[in-house]
């Protein structure tokens, strides 16, 4: 499979303050994003996600290392011909209407008039703001701005989409819409490089993820390989148990939480949960649910952050 994005040893040093102190924001990032996959680039605020993205899109000059898009160095504007980029916290020309805005970006890409005429309503429909096509962007809500930002990234029907926090600022329905849109774009053969601080969203859509901490990629790989299939503990919810049994179960559990008339016990080992289940049955309590817990992307990132902090 050919790589759409390749980066080797990408570094960025910023000079800040009066004494031009050197701050290394990105410390040698390597990336391989294969065609047709959704690549999640995740990490906490200030980890270097946006700086890396800006180097890939030509907005920031790398201090060292190299990167290519479709085999063309990112320092060459031609590398951005098949690229759709949605920046974080999208701010666009407020004096333009939705249609004027997309027309402007379509023209910057060199799309012929007939193509723009056909593509603009399609894209507005796709992102769900066709009703606001003739409204000025200054009147758009935050969610609508996010959607029109996505629309300008899609206007040229690009092979590669780089989306910086596309779900941020959207309500749950909007987030689901964007997730579905990203998945349908992958089905259409597009490659998507996405950052998100909403790890549950990233976990739902990404094929491959890279975790960046302190400017370094500390973990990367396919999501199934990273998270594994093994069960990591279980949550048991019971009701109608005696106080003695509650104490006994609480002593075995990592965490115990009363929930009205019910009690939730979080066990580190699945075997402990099974033993607890037997005890509840023996002593006349009622089991409401037993949920095996798998490792989540959030668990993985937090464990990586803890390891980094220890070092």
């Amino acid at each position: 499979m050919s790589n759409v994005i390749e980066a080797r040893g990408l570094r960025k040093v910023f000079r800040t303050g009066f004494f031009m102190r050197a701050v290394e924001a990105v410390k040698g990032v390597d990336l391989d994003v294969a065609k047709g996959e959704i690549f999640g680039f995740i990490g906490p605020n200030g980890a270097g996600k946006t700086t890396t993205i800006k180097m890939l899109t030509g907005l920031i000059h790398p201090s060292a290392g190299s990167a290519t898009i479709h085999g063309i160095p990112v320092t060459d504007p031609r590398s951005r011909q098949g690229l759709g980029f949605m920046p974080e916290g999208t701010y666009f020309h407020e004096y333009l209407t939705g249609v004027e805005f997309l027309n402007f970006h379509g023209r910057l890409l060199g799309l012929p008039k007939e193509v723009r005429r056909q593509r603009i309503p399609e894209v507005l429909e796709l992102v769900g703001i066709a009703h606001a096509a003739d409204q000025r962007l200054g009147r758009y809500s935050k969610g609508m701005r996010q959607r029109v930002g996505l629309a300008q990234a899609l206007i040229g029907d690009p092979e590669l989409l780089i989306l910086d926090e596309p779900m941020s600022g959207l309500d749950p329905v909007g987030r689901k819409d964007v997730r579905d849109m990203i998945l349908s774009l992958r089905e259409a053969g597009k490659t998507i490089f996405v950052t998100s601080h909403i790890l549950a969203d990233a976990e739902m859509i990404c094929d491959q993820v890279a975790i960046i901490l302190g400017g370094r990629i500390v973990h990367h790989g396919y999501l199934d390989d990273l998270l594994g299939e093994e069960v990591e503990g279980a949550e048991l919810v019971v009701e109608s148990i005696q106080p003695e049994l509650f104490d006994e179960l609480a002593a075995r559990a990592r965490r115990s939480v009363p929930q009205g008339g019910r009690f939730l016990f979080d066990f580190a080992e699945a075997a402990d949960a099974e033993k607890a289940l037997d005890l509840v049955r023996e002593r006349g309590g009622r089991v409401r649910s037993l949920t095996p817990k798998r490792r989540s992307l959030e668990d993985l990132m937090v464990s990586k952050m803890e390891k980094e902090a220890e070092q």
Binding site: F14, T51, K54, T57, G58, L59, I60, H61, P77, R78, R80, Q81, L83, F85, M86, P87, G89, T90, Y91, F92, H93, Y95, L96, F104, H105, R107, L108, L109, G110, G149, Q152, A153, G156, I162
Partner: protein
């Protein structure tokens, strides 16, 4: 798609943004009132009517033109960066120099319309008062426009690496100095100024000499103006603006959008 086409797209969008800026209309309104006030001013000094219409009219076109060039011009570039609208544009196959030239020519387009509107006010006053229209005044308006083009290039140069406040301050300072360079040079040529002469000579030749483009006085008096004088002045303005634009694009190219 050619570079020229991309420059045209950015220029058109810049002009559209400027045209939708309320500040522009406020400044044009004040310019119109100022030009119209020349009719009242002329009544204060009998016998100098035509001179007053011409002086006030041309000075207003120049002054409000510079105000618009500096404040609307600087804001248009700075806003693209501070509001991050530039991100989505430069993440397309657009060279940074194309973006800068697009902004520049968009501003020049807006300034052309603005000078034309103010000239319209001025001509309306002359027509209303049945005053003569000298050819020199058309040359003067042409050179005012080239001065605005040069001031816009200065503003763009500073805003390619500085904040809008500093850019405005530097540009205003350079505009004022540019009109005083003949005096600066004359000072350096005085008998007691040998020590500062190299500095004044350097300033005279290095800074934009805007006095070269100022023929308002002669034009307002109806004096003949040589075509060669206008031609050399125009060439000077175009070349100086060109050098500033090259420097602005070099600085803008090196810039990181953090």
């Amino acid at each position: 798609m050619s570079a020229l086409a991309r420059i045209a797209v950015v220029a058109e969008n810049t002009a559209r943004e400027a045209v939708r800026d309320k500040l522009l209309y406020n400044l044009l309104l004040f310019a119109g009132l100022m030009i119209a006030s020349s009719v009242l001013l002329a009544q204060l000094q009998v016998g100098y009517d035509e001179r007053i219409y011409n002086d006030v009219g041309l000075a207003t076109i120049a002054f409000f033109g510079v105000l618009i060039a500096i404040f609307v011009g600087i804001n248009l570039v700075y806003r693209e960066i501070s509001l991050k609208t530039v991100y989505a544009m430069l993440a397309k196959p657009v060279h940074r120099w194309e973006f800068m030239l697009g902004k520049y020519f968009g501003l020049l387009g807006m300034l052309a319309v603005e000078v034309a509107v103010m000239s319209g006010f001025f001509l309306a006053v002359l027509w209303f008062k049945s005053a003569p229209i000298y050819t020199g005044m058309l040359w003067a308006v042409g050179l005012i426009y080239l001065e605005l083009a040069l001031v816009t290039a200065i503003a763009l140069f500073f805003s390619s690496f500085s904040t809008p406040y500093l850019s405005a301050m530097f540009t205003v300072a350079l505009w004022i100095t540019g009109h005083l360079l003949a005096d600066v040079r004359a000072f350096g040529q005085g008998p007691d100024a040998e020590m500062v002469r190299p500095v004044t000579e350097f300033l005279y030749w290095a800074l934009p000499n805007l006095d070269r483009l100022d023929i308002k006085g002669d034009a307002a008096s109806g004096l003949p103006i040589e075509a060669a004088r206008v031609g050399w002045s125009a060439l000077y303005a175009v070349l100086y603006s060109g050098v500033l634009l090259v420097l602005a694009t070099v600085l803008f190219r090196r810039r990181d959008f953090r």
